[in-house]
Amino acid sequence: MANQPADMVTLKIPRPLYERLRQLIGGTGFRSVTEFATYVLRDLASHPRTAQESREMTEAELEQARQRLRELGYL
């Protein structure tokens, strides 16, 4: 799209879904479907794991925690 900022990308969604979202945001503070979709997806992306996995930390998170505990002298 012309004039699209370099750090933005275009996502495609079915038109009926777009229309539904447009109805949903009526009367709210969201100024556009884009803004609303970004809000929802951003929130979803902060919890990327399945219900099973969400109860546990990733190996990287575990090691990061262990490393900090070692640095502080707890381990």
Binding site: I25, E35, Y39, S46, R55, E61, A65, L72, L75
Partner: protein, 383 residues
Amino acid sequence: MIPPHGGKLVNRVVSGEERDHLARDAQLLPRLQLNQRELADLEMIATGAMSPLEGFMDEANYRNVVDSVRLANGLVWAIPVVLSAKAEEDRKLRSGDRVALTDDAGRVLAVLEVAGCYQVDHEYEAQMVLRTTDEGHPGVQYLGSISPWYVGGTVHLVRRPEHTDFLRYRLDPKETRVLFEERGWKRIVAFQTRNPIHRAHEYLQKCALEICDGLLIHPLVGETKSDDIPAEVRMRCYEELIEKYYPKDRVVLSVFPAAMRYGGPREAIFHALVRKNYGCTHFIVGRDHAGVGNYYGSYDAHAIFGEFEPEDIAITPLFFDHAFYCRVCGNMATTKTCPHGSDDHVVLSGTKVRELLAKGELPPAEFTRPEVGRVLAEATRRS
């Protein structure tokens, strides 16, 4: 490992490129500055200490908590965790708006995805949560100092609040959980305090440690009332005590960043649930837990746990009565385990302790360890 409250350890800390993007976006957003309590709450929400909370309470959750000690989804929660409006324009915030949350230096710490703004009745909140509307109560004073308009919504933390103190002791819930696992601890008892640890507290902790694998000494280091002993003095007391009198392989000292509400019974529930999020399975509830003055009965904070099914709290409270040294028994005891009268007990009021320290005298060793007494005496001299 005990599950967090609600089943999942919340993580609202944004990292990597997403953090950079959001931090850039946030520079263009309207700003809302956090007070000290809100700063601490933000950090605890983001790191999961307040699981299942994902942000500052919206109206539905706030009203449910105030009225029925539960969130809108039915989970037990005792204390409102709210963000107060700071300016007239904050009241106009609507669902879907985004606001940059800042500290008092103007640093953007988080983006709040607004769920809505709502007006509350502080007198009602005080009566329900603090059980008093008396303006001498520090919690009531706090409510009187903030707007009756609250802004609710989820948070995305892009920058941790700046800390210059207790850096070695600032562990997030995921870190305490990993620590307990690494040490092989299954039963971990937490001790909350905003005071130095005297012999009576030490006794409760060690009784609890006899039936648990490890002890988390978790002093509150957020905002307290002006006549409470400063956190840095208390931390020196805890360090001295642990060094000489505690088995170091059984004890973890880490700080609890929350502000004090002085909410007595409700705050006891709050303290217990948050320590569950830190990975603790047991929680010590002593006499007049989180109390102040004479606003609560000595054991109101024990009784409130009986209003819930154990599985709704899911961290085991360990109730202790008033503890003291008994000269006849020759040991520490409580009113439950000592048959002797108060004349045989070494008990000092806070006023008496302050008088002794001001004169450069240490309280008796049956009341407080000399090492703790010396730290307090030195702090009194310098104040």
